[in-house]
């Protein structure tokens, strides 16, 4: 790297750092972490629900403050999910399911404080590890991505979609169908090259297409409202966490020694899998748990309250957050619904994540990276300092929480364009989400197709226009051929995996 470029980059890093330590950004990060832990802790609530509640706020806040708030919520939500897994044996987030395997037994043995302390510390270390990955890898990947041409970008987005479908669905057909429906929804409105109106049925409201944040609110919040109707009873019958005592939270030195290997495994696996769109927290957490069990001498204690069994998945699921920010920031490809919302929040402020962000607004890009660092710091402080208060919040009545979410869904979708039309669109997507849930079709590929679809079409048409309709352009470019090759492998892997699961189900 030449000296001039290095100086400019260092200046941007410094600017980003200064942006992240602005009092308003730090306050937003801390508030986001607190709310994230609360939303993650409440069984049945998801990080996406928390973000939906905060979404209208981000439309009016400064972009650096908005992104700090959302990042805090993302990081906090991952940890919060583990709290309910440890205390109630109900994972607050899917990523926390592996933590419950050993966290809950240790809690039942009368050591909930020890289990939570290990989870908090492991999450912190996992988060910091993924921050380092983000800081070191993202700028270089963005640099590389700048050399991508339209065929490469098309193949990259196509790869992102197929990988997401492979991981997100039990059935590859349903995963791909969900993505295809999402792509079809993207074609509503003006086409990205010539501005021709498509599928608008003469309605001017549809000319600008369906805003994916509106769709996201409906897809996640309405099914959540319905699902929560039947959950109250189950949750009330479980342990009352507020009555538990937490004598000591900071892990003892012997526990810290036992945490070293599992945290390292979790940090590496989480960061790497986080970068893979769609793989996400649950896979990383279970994989780390499994690796740790295999590498530990006394694997018999796993499932009975092993410290290693809490540390590994906890480090992994928090490391996933930083990993997931790498493709989001550098390529504009979201790995999960939360990073999709982050893209939406940035787009509202005219900041498109992708390689150009590191050129045009490198200070902002580094600001996001440093905000992620602060989110991990606040996560540790808030979790340890306010644990007793946080645990009491798990008992928030559902009868107040759910109606509030319902009303905020309306406010959030209305606030996008001050239009009731968007509220009706949100409700339509809510019904679509319910129907898909009933038919066992995953919604995540649809959502990510809504984010990536326009980019996919635009690059396809630019590439074909450049090659005068010759499709070999996608196979002659090395990058494009590489991405398409991996996409094909991921589809084949997914088909094989579906068959394996099906034959396993038949034999059992």
């Amino acid at each position: 790297m030449d000296l001039g470029k290095k100086i400019v980059m260092n200046g941007d890093v410094l600017q980003g750092f200064l942006q992240a330590i602005q009092p308003t950004s730090l306050a937003a990060t801390a508030i986001g972490c607190f709310l994230g832990i609360v939303f993650g802790m409440i069984p049945g609530m998801t990080i996406s629900s928390g973000i939906i509640i905060l979404l209208p706020l981000t439309f009016v806040l400064d972009p650096s403050i908005s992104i700090s708030l959302l990042l805090g919520l993302y990081v906090g939500g991952m940890l919060g999910g583990s709290f309910s897994a440890i205390l109630l044996n109900i994972p607050g987030t899917p990523s926390a399911a592996a933590t419950a395997l050993d966290g809950y037994p240790l809690s039942v043995q009368g050591e909930p404080g020890r289990a939570l302390g290990v989870a908090v510390l492991a999450s912190f270390v996992g988060g910091l590890f993924s921050f380092l990955c983000l800081f070191l890898i993202a700028p270089r990947l963005a640099d590389l991505a700048l050399s991508f041409r339209a065929p490469d970008l098309f193949s990259l987005v196509f790869l992102g979609l197929t990988v997401i479908c492979s991981f997100a669905a039990k059935s590859w057909i349903k995963g791909l169908l969900s993505a295809v429906i999402g792509l079809a929804i993207v074609t509503i409105g003006q086409d990205p090259i010539m501005g021709t109106a498509r599928f608008t049925f003469g309605d001017a409201n549809l000319l600008s297409g369906v805003n994916f944040l509106t769709a996201l609110i409906g897809l996640f919040a309405i099914p959540q409202l319905i699902q929560s109707l039947g959950e109250g009873q189950i949750i009330n019958n479980t342990t009352q966490p507020a009555s538990m005592s937490f004598k000591k939270l900071l892990p003892a030195s012997i526990d810290i020694k036992r945490m070293r290997l599992p945290v390292s495994i979790g940090g590496i696996v989480g960061s790497l899998l986080g970068m893979l769109p769609g793989a996400g927290g649950p896979i990383a957490a279970f994989m780390s748990y499994d690796y740790t069990r295999k590498t530990t001498d006394d694997s018999q204690k796993f499932g009975k309250g092993a410290i290693e069994g809490i540390a590994a998945p906890e480090a992994a699921n928090n490391a996933v957050t930083g990993g997931a920010l790498v493709p989001m920031m550098t390529l504009g490809i979201p790995g999960d619904p939360v990073t999709a919302i982050l893209i939406g929040a940035l787009l509202i402020h005219g900041l498109a994540p992708g390689p150009l962000l590191f050129i045009e607004r490198a200070d902002f890009a580094y600001g996001v990276i440093f905000s992620f660092f602060w989110a991990n710091i606040f996560n540790l402080i808030i979790a340890l300092a306010a644990l007793r208060l946080l645990v009491k919040l798990v008992a928030t009545p559902r009868s107040i929480l759910m109606p509030t979410i319902a009303i905020l869904c309306v406010v959030g979708s209305y606030a996008l364009r001050n239009s009731l039309f968007d509220v009706y669109v949100m409700f339509f997507f809510g019904l679509l989400g319910l129907a898909m849930k009933w038919l066992d079709i995953p919604v995540v590929p649809l959502l990510l197709a809504l984010v990536l679809g326009r980019q996919l079409e635009e690059n396809l048409r630019i590439a074909l226009t450049g090659s005068q309709g010759d499709i070999s352009v996608f196979f002659t470019s090395p990058f494009s051929a590489f991405f398409l090759g991996i996409a094909v492998i991921s589809i084949i892997w997914s088909i094989k995996n579906t068959r394996k699961v099906r034959s396993k189900n038949i034999t059992t």
């Binding site: 079809a184 319905i226 039947g230 319902a406 038919l439 048409r461």
Partner: protein, 151 residues
Amino acid sequence: MMMAQRNLIAGVILTALGVFYGLLTVGLPNLSLPGTPGPTLFPWLITTGWVVLSSALLLFGMLGVRNQSKETEKRSIPKKPFIVLIAFLAYLAVLPFIGFILSSTFFFAGLMWLYGERHKVKITLTSIILPSMIFYIFSTGLGIFLPNGPW
């Protein structure tokens, strides 16, 4: 209902929707320069993928239904989800006419009851205070003006 039956239903509905999308694509204007892809290219690719995948799902659903045992799950359909959805729809219908505060108050109270709250004073107070708070925070604090209604 067994998963194979659901796959069959999903296959039928999605194939029909895929065909409908294809028919709409036929009606699109294909304005493009010679030798360059027009605005119909992407919808055609989607139609192809949609119909092929949903037909495959339909086929798997049919095979699954044929292979499964005659026993079917008998479960009562819960009413509450439908009541919540109808209440939501009614709320959205009256929202532009009676405004955010009034419509949200009734909707909030109804949902509180549906989610198991039976304390009348608690329902009344919460459903008045929370929607009003949300309205004032958004309109005065954030400049997002929610529908006022006729007032």
